[in-house]
Amino acid sequence: MPPALPLSTSRLLLERMLLIRAYEEKIIAFHEAGPFPHVCTSVGQEAAAAGVVSALAPQDQILTNHRSAGHLLARGADPGRMLAEVMGRSTGYCKGKSGTLHISAKELGVILTSTIVGGELSLATGAALSREMLGGDGIVACFFGDGAACEGIFHESLNLASIWNLPVLYVCENNQWQAYVHRKETMVGDHIAPRAAGYGIEALTVDGNDVEAVFEAATAAVAQVRATRRPFLLEATTYRQRGHMEPHDQSYVDPAEIAEWRAKDPIDRQKARLLAQGGLEEADLARLEARIRRDIDEAADFAAASPFPDPAELATEVYA
């Protein structure tokens, strides 16, 4: 089958996924070595992050949630400043005041990260209203999960974005797990996308573990939102390969389910695709992975060597 995307794009998507995986694995390694701040990793969900974020333009904004490393890294965030934030250091994106779960990087357009499940859905309409009223063709991409889609605010957000014609690309990473509960126990239906029709919003479900499929669907969705100034809901069906947070526990997960989804790992699939297409040699891949691991090691060294915030900053930046 001929490649659907330019080789450079296919490689870039793989590279971004490898970076995300290496970053998350570094956090897992920290946890295996000893006490470390809790982190919700996105292992297994890299294709949704890399595929959608790579389809956005610089003037677009991203709102994300507690499982946000992929969105930040795909947008070009510095893993050193991210790890510094996780470790509560002053060199972090939020000067150590966010910690792992709430990293915002305004300079990259990753804004208002909220770990209140559904919080990002309530803020995205406001960010999109600003885009509409202040001019330009920017749009807002809002990442949330199937858990957030069970919050009331999901429905309030879609209703308002539709009735006000707001340029929001809703991106649901349906990763099958809502913290410690399988979505089958708590959610009607297998998918989120059909709910959009109730609000007059177009929606599409895509294989969220196929990064090229995600990228192509997102590219079309972004173009549509940009042109029509109307919301769109893109659902990426994917899987959280780890427990809810690190240190990780999956004792409550059926091992057969984990095995089934590991076999559909988005990075393995993209590697296999590129190798089969001849777009990548094993040796290239090994060099690429070694470079990314080195970068992440350096990022971790930077973070670990960074100072903690001065206690004098405890109550600063509460008010503007």
């Binding site: 005041k97 803020l123 406001g126 605010i153 957000s157 600063t316 509460v318």
Partner: protein, 330 residues
């Protein structure tokens, strides 16, 4: 000077600020319907009706405030704020700090509360102290039409989220309101009546109740000073302490319940900073720790009355006599 009701004063402030700054917009449940004059002057993009959905109204305001607009949202009745707590407290109040100062939330959330309309506890809940207890927010609760205008103008120009409470009983009371800018700085109390024997600290409609009590006390030769807090956060601690150091006696009055209320904060401040100046214990006259009733006589019993305030002041002045227990209303 023109006479305006509180509602008219708020409307004038909003119109003047929208004229001054194109980033200011207002939305809420019925906002456009109730303000056709704003719609015709500023257009339907800046004056919007919303669904009856407080969470998304407040969240949209917070998201818009952080990205360049200056929204005012009308959430109608204070108990409805319960549906918007995440957006107000977790987003607008915290995300500036949590982002290391990357965002600011210049927004105003309007809500009505207070007894006088017999609307019952799901439309009347003096919950202003909840927001005083939440970092990153400012809280305003004025008592005069001129202050409603001046504080609204200041709130709209402030870079922080401001909870702006309208005491229902004051909404249609007329008063003198200057035209043009009448900015009242946030965090500044006002002395409504000077006195030397006892300080009555209050805010919103009970400021007027305190003034009535002060009138009665004056006839008895007791000189009461009435301090209107106006802003509950930031609290004007200097004005409170200055007055109490002068009088040595303090009665704090509000319709909200006593436990962990603004009166508790004022009493603790005075205990910590002006203990040596106190000639008598601090007394609170508040609404009871009960949902607001609807029946008219019950509601009147719920609201602090002038007699309870003057009685408390009288007891403090006549040292050695017992004072009323916290939480008792008139």
């Amino acid at each position: 000077m023109p006479l305006l009701t509180v509602n008219e004063a708020i409307g004038q402030a909003i119109a003047e600020e929208m004229r001054r700054d194109s980033r200011v917009l207002i939305f809420g449940e019925g906002t456009a319907t109730k303000h056709p004059e704003l719609v015709s002057e500023f257009g339907s993009a800046r004056v919007r009706n919303t669904p009856l959905a407080e969470g998304i109204i407040a969240g949209t305001a917070a998201g818009a405030a952080a990205t360049g607009l200056r929204p005012i949202v009308d959430l109608l009745f204070a108990p409805f704020l319960c549906f918007a707590m995440d957006e107000l407290v977790n987003s607008a109040g915290k995300l500036r700090y949590m982002s290391g100062g990357q965002f600011a939330f210049p927004m105003v959330a309007l809500a009505m509360t207070g007894g006088g309309w017999t609307v019952g506890a799901q439309h009347n809940h003096n919950l202003e102290a909840w927001f005083v207890h939440s970092p990153g927010l400012k809280v305003v609760m004025p008592s005069t039409p001129a202050d409603f205008k001046g504080l609204m103008q200041a709130a709209i120009r402030d870079e922080n989220p401001v909870l702006f409470f309208v005491d229902l009983a004051l909404a249609f009371v007329p008063g003198e309101v200057p035209e043009g800018d009448v900015l009242v700085p946030l965090g500044q109390a006002a002395i409504r009546r000077e006195g030397s024997d006892v300080t009555l600290v209050s805010y919103a409609k009970t400021v007027h109740t305190c003034l009535q009590a002060a009138e009665t006390l004056a006839e008895e030769g007791i000189s009461a000073e009435v301090l209107d807090l106006r802003t509950l956060k930031p609290l004007d601690t200097e004005s409170i302490l200055r007055s109490v150091r002068k009088t040595g006696r303090l009665v704090v009055v509000h319709e909200a319940a006593a436990p962990c209320g603004v009166g508790a904060e004022v009493a603790a401040l005075v205990a910590a900073e002006a203990f040596a100046d106190l000639k008598a214990p601090v007394v609170r006259i508040t609404g009871p720790d009960a949902p607001a009733p609807s029946s008219y006589p019950l509601e009147q019993a719920f609201i602090p009355q002038p007699d309870a305030i003057s009685a408390a002041a009288r007891r403090l002045v006549a040292l050695g006599l017992p004072v009323s227990a916290p939480g008792s209303a008139g």
